[in-house]
């Protein structure tokens, strides 16, 4: 009987062996390959790269396979690996205005320079389960056309030319970028750290937080100024060479929300920005992020901040799913020492309660 409450090395080893078998599933079914995950579950890979904050499709696919498709577990695997990597520095800011767009939509203007491009999207599909996809489906080849050479300037830049939207603050040349994975986070946090926190934050949490602002908890009247997805170049300033060298290209989704602002004594009314950016095609994530980013600017813009989404400490302390899942799931660990202490206290309190009641009824009986 004493055995049952103590763990054992062999028990752990056996549990992990069983897990390896459960992961593999039936041997009558072919093993899933990393290529298959990367190619056919691409949006899962995008999410794991984004919230794992490591742009590596192959490692993300491996993490998804190892985690049996549990994306938060996969994000955790990627994060733990990322934590051990050396840092060489920060890249030059990516120029999303020069993105080779695969998709780009604006809900604020009917037509925009460079055009609206739907690209690969679930939007306007009917969500009917498609039995033909179950096996052996070969899609029709995609429609093609001559690539447009027209530039696709950001919609917010177009608005910015007339001063209708606040200007996007430009970082000083050579200014260092905050990194909450290298420096402990302190409150109040600057916007670079807030955005980093949101970019790593759980999609579901940000979705709920963003949604709450739409339902009146910190409403900020958003319009989707622009959502774009495509490839951008990443450059790194090499001290030795004295110029920026290209490192390669990555896929990004960027969302710029345009929000009302009534103005203040010193500032004319204008639109304000909420910003979202994520690896791969992650529209729900970037839209939610942009809503929450704008909500968190309440203090800076002199707005009343009473809603959860406007509360920096609340949002930033609870957005990270690796932290959250760890602490929630740690309740599985043994707590019998502190539980024993509580048990002792509870027994004492109950005894005192019983004694007091008994004394009371004795007194009543005597009367």
């Amino acid at each position: 009987m004493y055995v049952a409450v103590k763990g054992g090395e062999r028990a752990i080893e056996n549990a992990h062996r069983l897990l390896a078998n459960a992961r593999r599933g039936s041997h009558n079914v072919p093993e899933v390959t990393l290529d298959q995950i990367s190619e056919q579950l691409g949006l899962a890979v995008d999410r794991v790269m984004s919230e794992g904050s490591l742009y590596d499709r192959e490692l993300a696919a491996l993490a998804i396979k190892q985690a049996r498709g549990d994306l938060i577990e996969a994000i955790f695997l990627v994060r733990a690996f990322r934590a051990t990597l050396p840092r060489f520095g920060a890249s030059e800011p990516v120029e999303t205005g020069a993105m080779r767009v695969q998709r780009r939509v604006s809900s604020t203007f009917k037509d925009i320079p460079g055009g609206q491009i739907l690209g690969p999207t679930f939007d306007y599909t009917h969500r009917l389960l498609d039995p033909s996809l179950a096996e052996g489906f070969v899609p029709e080849a995609p429609a093609t056309a001559e690539a447009s050479s027209a530039p696709t300037p950001r919609v917010t830049d177009i608005l910015g030319r007339d001063g209708l939207i606040e200007s996007s603050p430009q970082a000083e040349k050579g200014a260092s970028v905050g990194d909450l994975t290298r420096e402990p986070l302190n409150f109040p946090a600057d916007r670079d750290l807030r955005l980093q926190n949101l970019a790593r934050g759980d999609e579901g949490f940000l979705l709920a937080m963003g949604y709450s602002t739409q339902r009146g908890y910190g409403r900020n009247h958003p319009f989707a100024g622009e959502i774009r997805f495509g490839e951008v170049e990443v450059e790194f300033f090499a001290e030795d060479a004295g110029f920026a060298v290209p490192l390669g290209s990555i896929e990004l989704t960027e969302c710029q929300m345009v929000n009302q602002f009534k103005g203040s004594a010193t500032e004319a009314p204008c639109f304000t920005r909420g910003y979202g950016l994520a690896f791969g095609q992650s529209e729900r994530k970037t839209m939610s992020m942009a809503l929450v980013d704008r909500a968190l600017r309440a203090r800076e813009l002199g707005e009343e901040a009473a809603a959860p989404a406007q509360d920096e400490e609340f949002v930033m302390s609870h957005s990270d799913n690796v932290q959250a899942t760890g602490f929630v799931e740690h309740l599985k660990l043994p707590h019998y020492v502190d539980f024993q202490s509580e048990l002792g206290l509870l027994r004492k309190l109950r005894q005192e309660f019983t004694d007091a009641n008994a004394a009371e009824s004795m007194k009543e009986a005597a009367e």
């Binding site: 009987m1 103590k6 491996l62 602490f327 740690h330 019998y336 024993q340 202490s341 206290l345 309190l349």
Partner: protein, 298 residues
């Protein structure tokens, strides 16, 4: 693919240096919570990542490591962490309290008195003793800065007003070096007196909350109380059923569904040591042992 290659004790040297700086600051200001850039470790937050990072930062090749969880060397998480360091640092491991140079613990302080050449590393879930009275970090940091601990005393007073005594059984707040109110981590309050004037260095790591704090050797640690309601450690009033110890903290083990209970030492090393020395309790059959710990396989 980037094949992972890991440093001694897993963390890279830059990270260890950053953690050591935080530790030094923590030792210099006993009981003060030093923010540090906690890393993602290969075990989940809430499962000892703070303690693991502190241990990784202080561990040297000659150290002898002991890991306990709930006082026991053979609970699953203790085994997992001990194996992690046996694998990534190749250090010797032990279950004997007096042989260890570094002891990582969750929720207990060993019964065997610690000595000067030892470091006790606590795993801490919520480092802020004021957190459940004030959820905001900006506020609690200000309260610590001003030594404004009235809220905590009011809480303890309200317990007394309501129950006749302080109703905190574990994570019982202490004052360190007559300055900072500190959370001892969720150890039962039975263990609080062991922290006071302890010859060993006590380090506390909270990974998820990104805080390190410390009690240097021979530092005053006082459990908060009132003159007319002094601090009282709790212990179930029975001897250990296996070794007969009268002064150790006991686990309650449910033995059947008819109310059967047995009480045994939570500190397994202490209990086994006493049994080896011939002490017997009321139910002391030879305790089940899976295999010896320590040595190469951790």
């Amino acid at each position: 693919m980037n094949a992972p290659a890991y440093n001694f004790a897993y963390l890279d040297e830059q990270t260890k240096r950053m953690i050591r700086r935080a530790i030094l600051k923590a030792i210099a200001i006993p009981g003060y919570q030093v923010p540090f850039a906690s890393r993602e470790m290969p075990m989940p937050y809430g499962w000892g990542t703070g303690g693991v990072q502190v241990t990784a930062a202080i561990l040297g090749p000659k150290d002898v490591l002991k890991v306990i969880d709930q006082g026991s060397d053979d609970t699953t998480n203790a085994i997992s962490i001990r194996k992690f360091f046996a694998k990534t640092a190749g250090v010797a491991t032990t279950t004997a309290t007096e042989d260890a140079t570094v002891i990582q613990t969750r929720h207990r302080i060993p019964e065997t008195a610690l000595h000067e050449n030892q470091v006790l590393v606590y795993q801490v879930p919520i480092p802020e003793p004021l957190r459940f009275l004030e959820p905001r970090e900006t506020e609690t940091r200000r309260m610590h800065a001003l030594a404004e601990y009235g809220l905590m005393h009011v809480k303890l007073y309200e317990d007394i007003a309501r129950f006749g005594h302080i109703a905190t059984a574990y994570a019982y707040p202490v004052k360190v070096n007559a300055r900072y109110v500190m959370d001892p981590s969720p150890t039962p309050k039975f263990d609080n007196p062991k922290m006071d004037n302890c010859p060993a260095l006590q380090l506390f790591g909270a990974g998820r909350e990104k805080r390190i704090y410390a009690i240097p050797p021979y530092t005053t640690v006082v459990s908060l109380d009132f003159e007319d309601h002094p601090f009282e450690p709790y212990r179930f009033n029975a001897p250990c059923a296996l070794c007969g110890a009268e002064n150790s903290y006991l686990d309650e083990i449910v033995t059947d569904d008819k109310g059967g209970r047995m009480f045994v030492c939570s500190d397994t090393d202490y209990c086994e040591g006493r049994q080896a020395a011939g002490h017997r309790g009321s139910l002391s059959a030879a305790p089940y042992k899976e295999k010896a710990h320590g040595g190469s396989n951790g």
